[in-house]
Amino acid sequence: MIQKELMTVTNQTEIAHNIYEMTLQGTLVNQMNEPGQFVHLKAGDEMIPLLRRPISIARIEQEKQEFTMIYRAEGAGTNALAKKRTGDFVDVLGPLGHGFPVEEAQPGQTALLIGGGIGVPPLYELSRRLNANGVKTIHVLGFQNKEAAFYTEQFLSLGDTYVSTVDGSLGEQGFVTDVVNNHGLKADIFYSCGPTVMLKAVEQLHAAPHGYISLEERMGCGIGACFACVCHPKEDESGTAYLKVCSDGPVFSAGEVAL
């Protein structure tokens, strides 16, 4: 069930250049069960910025009623968020959307997790769940450069982890798809989140028989009411079919959406 709650900041750390890890506490966490879902949030009740901001859930800790997000401070909304300190409140609406289907990977199988930039965070909770289910995970994480990279250690503790940066300042130089190709990585299923161009390339990889991708789109409501975030399904004879990233997604079956 979707809740709206003023949640309490229990941790706010800049873990890379302009990249923040924030932990929030509240009963809303009870509603969280799928990795890949997101929250829609607002740092304060100001009219500027007016709209909420969608941010993925990166880690869920039910026992502590806490969840963690990782976000890049870029514009007005995320910068306001970055100003929050432990003990402050954040207005959270969530959990929203449909996440990654963890159960699609059978125990003993291998899952390939491919993330780019701020698309990396939701893969963390996913990987934790997969590993808990006895699924072997391989992680391929792409960043702009060394300064923008984060959570490589955390992923490493869950499975093989390849890191690439566009400028080669950390890990291999190149894109995540180069890494998959160069190492001939194969798996039973893949899960991916990142910029659309990356997802498009990932869909063409054929490193696994099937997989799931998580999309980004500018949002209004975040709950499926405003039609701001639609995308075209790949199969659409009428030309008027649509999927909403916020409520049908953000996670879709690879090949479902026209990228």
Partner: protein
């Protein structure tokens, strides 16, 4: 004591607060959050004869105290709206105001005729003011004679009262209001969005793929209040006022300006619970200010 119930043509409202068209879909999503029967009414998303996909994304952008949207009248089309959405809405005890759109007169007439026959549709809202479609829409909303003619045609076929939604993008809003009054409109809803644009500094291109979009939210409230103030003094039609409402104080301001009821659009995105919260707070406000009935506040600024 009930301070909030309002009688308008076709509409017996428990209270004068309703979500604005396009900001509430067909209610399904919000029904997960609260009981839709608590609302005064629901203005459903614009319905066209045929299904429409609308514009390419990005469809929304943020502006100082406001937002731009260019959804482009996306909707599943008349048939599905009736069969799925309105049917589903019947479980709630709430009158529906069906927002009717089209590219030419025949489209409007066709949709109005069919949709006005549906049980829970208590009124139509003629959307002659959508800035986000290339043909029709806005032309009907900016030329008085055209607006009057369309109103007349729709009135002829509608089984329920017809409210016309005015565009603020006109030189003379009173002239438009009088034109639709002459055309036989039963009420006015106002305002739709102002046409605006934002340009992305990195790409140097408009942020919205439709280039321009409709400006809504607190930023436009002074324009909306002014227009309600002018129109309420110059027509005899009831007015459902909207544009930037996000607090009880805003509702009171619209009443003072001359509104008979209000709709809340953009604020539903900021706080999806806002409509129910406002209904409760409005009652408390009236009690605290010793107002016996909300209708007493109408037009106080000019009475």
């Amino acid at each position: 004591m009930n301070r909030l119930n309002i009688e308008l043509p076709g509409l017996s409202l428990k209270n004068p607060v309703m979500p604005a068209s396009g900001c509430f879909g067909f209610g399904r999503e919000f029904s997960q959050l609260y009981d839709l029967s608590s609302l005064g009414a629901i203005m459903i998303k614009a319905t066209t004869e045929e299904p429409r996909y609308g514009n390419a994304t990005p469809r929304v952008a943020e502006t100082p105290a406001g937002m731009l949207n260019a959804i482009g009248l996306q909707n599943p089309g008349l048939e599905k709206v009736i069969a799925n959405e309105l049917e589903w809405l019947k479980q709630f005890d709430v009158p529906i105001i069906a927002n009717v759109a089209g590219s030419q007169t025949e489209d409007y007439v066709q949709v109005a005729k069919e949709i006005s026959k549906v049980d829970n549709v208590h009124a139509l809202e003629l959307n002659i003011s959508c800035p986000n479609v290339k043909t029709g829409g806005i032309a009907f909303g900016t030329i008085p004679e055209t607006a009057k003619e369309l109103t007349k045609r729709v009135k002829e076929v509608s089984d329920v009262p017809v409210y016309v939604k005015l565009s603020p993008n006109v030189t003379n809003i009173v002239e438009m209001a009088k034109a639709v009054e002459d055309g036989g409109a039963d009420g006015i809803t106002m305002i739709n969005t102002l046409i605006g644009m934002r340009i992305d500094l990195k790409t140097a291109r408009p942020v919205l793929s439709n280039r321009t979009g409709g400006l809504s939210g607190p930023a436009v409230k002074p324009v909306a209040v002014r227009m309600v103030y002018e129109v309420s003094q110059n027509t005899n039609l009831p007015i459902i006022g909207m544009g930037g409402i996000s607090s009880v104080e805003d509702i009171i301001e619209f009443y003072f300006a001359g509104a008979d009821a209000v709709a809340v659009g953009t604020a539903n995105f900021v706080n999806p619970f806002i409509c129910t919260e406002l209904i409760e707070q409005l009652d408390q406000y009236l009690e605290a200010h010793n107002v016996d009935h909300i209708s007493e506040l109408k037009g106080r600024s000019w009475k």
